[in-house]
Symmetry: C2
Subunit: 259 residues, 2 copies
């Protein structure tokens, strides 16, 4: 399988790119690629490009950018605002939210949030790896944690908010989303911490103009499960899962991947 790398530099035909130490190590020492090997590259705004390894040195690995393989595409504008949880589940959230097409990962500190620190570098590394593997053309933007109060105070009033509300106050998710127009508007999913939202937090969220409280069934979901479920149902009902599936490139076989 051709390696696929996110690199944060402009991409155009004929450009040379020197990889950072981690990427150089990965191509040279893990995949053991030599000069001439093909790689795929994307940077979040110039589409996807085919390139080749130009030179492999002890210090540096350089690539030559050849030709565009996919143009940049419009992607759903879907923030994930979530109360952070413990480390292993945070890795999982970054990976799954990236695969499921979230455009922004926004940690939100709520009254019952037990976690006090979020390793943003680690969140970003997990998101980049997932974007590389999932054939996304972008990496979600990782934002600094904010308090729920500040998030609400600064909320863009045209952005719809899908609130995963396990207090039982919401409508069934498919019923709620099925009655809305497919997403021309920007959206966000908001999920709470282990201890749930406090009543006053739910009231404050409910005061926003375009908020949609929904329930996710009769079982109690872990915070990370609620995130994956809400993003998947949103994509299926209002997002880019509504389009006809892309045919698997160069093969008639299905193409699920796993690490």
């Amino acid at each position: 399988m051709t390696p696929r790398l996110f690199i944060d530099v402009p991409l155009s035909a004929g450009t040379s790119v020197e990889l950072d130490a981690d990427r150089a190590h990965y191509l040279r020492d893990v995949l053991r690629l030599a000069a001439g090997a093909t790689v795929l590259l994307f940077n979040g705004h110039d589409g996807e490009w085919r390139g080749a390894i130009e030179s492999v040195g002890k210090r540096a690995v350089t690539l030559r950018v050849d030709s565009q393989t996919r143009p940049q595409e419009r992607e759903p504008d879907l923030w994930l605002c979530f109360a952070p949880v413990k480390k292993a589940r945070l890795d999982f959230i970054a990976e799954k939210a990236t695969e499921l097409g979230a455009s922004v990962l926004q940690p939100v500190m709520t009254k019952h949030t037990a976690v006090t620190r979020v390793n943003l570098g680690r969140l970003r590394a997990n998101a980049i790896e997932a974007a590389e593997q999932t054939e996304r053309l972008t990496v979600p933007e990782i934002r600094e944690p904010v308090t729920l109060e500040r998030l609400i105070a600064a909320w863009p009033r045209d952005r719809h908010l899908l609130l995963a509300d396990e207090s039982g106050g919401g409508a069934p998710i498919a019923q709620c989303l099925g009655g809305l127009e497919p997403a021309a508007a920007p959206w966000a999913v908001l999920t709470g911490p282990e201890g749930g939202f406090a009543r006053e937090e739910l009231d404050a969220i409910g005061s926003l103009p375009n908020v949609h409280p929904v329930g996710l069934g009769p079982r109690i979901l872990r915070a990370d499960t609620a995130i994956v479920a809400a993003l998947a149902v949103w994509q299926a009902v209002l997002g880019d899962w509504r389009d006809a599936p892309r045919q698997a490139a160069g093969s008639h076989e299905s193409a699920f991947t796993q690490p």
Copy 2:
């Protein structure tokens, strides 16, 4: 929080239950509970019961079953048939499929399945833990792995099959499921391995009477992500997420949990 335990014995008022060594250790040494402490119990068919610790000994912990807190409820008949993946992701699949209400976990060996052995005991332990935490009244049945060929040969013809088909041949999932009657019929979700299904496998699956091949959007999903996404969308559109959410017990706060 009151501990909630799955125990595989009949439950009725007044019964005494001696716990196995693991459960006894958990209540006595991890949670440090003493005689009189309340526990919740379920066995998959008698609903949920409140009980109390009767005695705590070095060898044995016994419980007394008091009164029923919830009657047994009808749950969706939704098998998950999946090509097994590597260990950590298998733990994840068991946990998430249980939270999302799968009734059966059926490992399926396909042409491109790289994993050759599945630890069924571990799969069951993860499913039990998730059922305890998610307030399910049942634990999914864990089945012995079968080949795809045998699965198809023995397929119950009235059972609808949602095929996560990343070859691009399927319809968008919400469009497919939205056109069907909410689930009176039994269903299954089938997902493939890392390498995808082989063409002849897709053809064989396609020969079943009630098969629904669907796509899960333009990004390539890992096998475990596809499982969670397909189960969540099925529950939202055809399953028990269509019912009004249960009000959170004894509180107005939302009740997401995490370990």
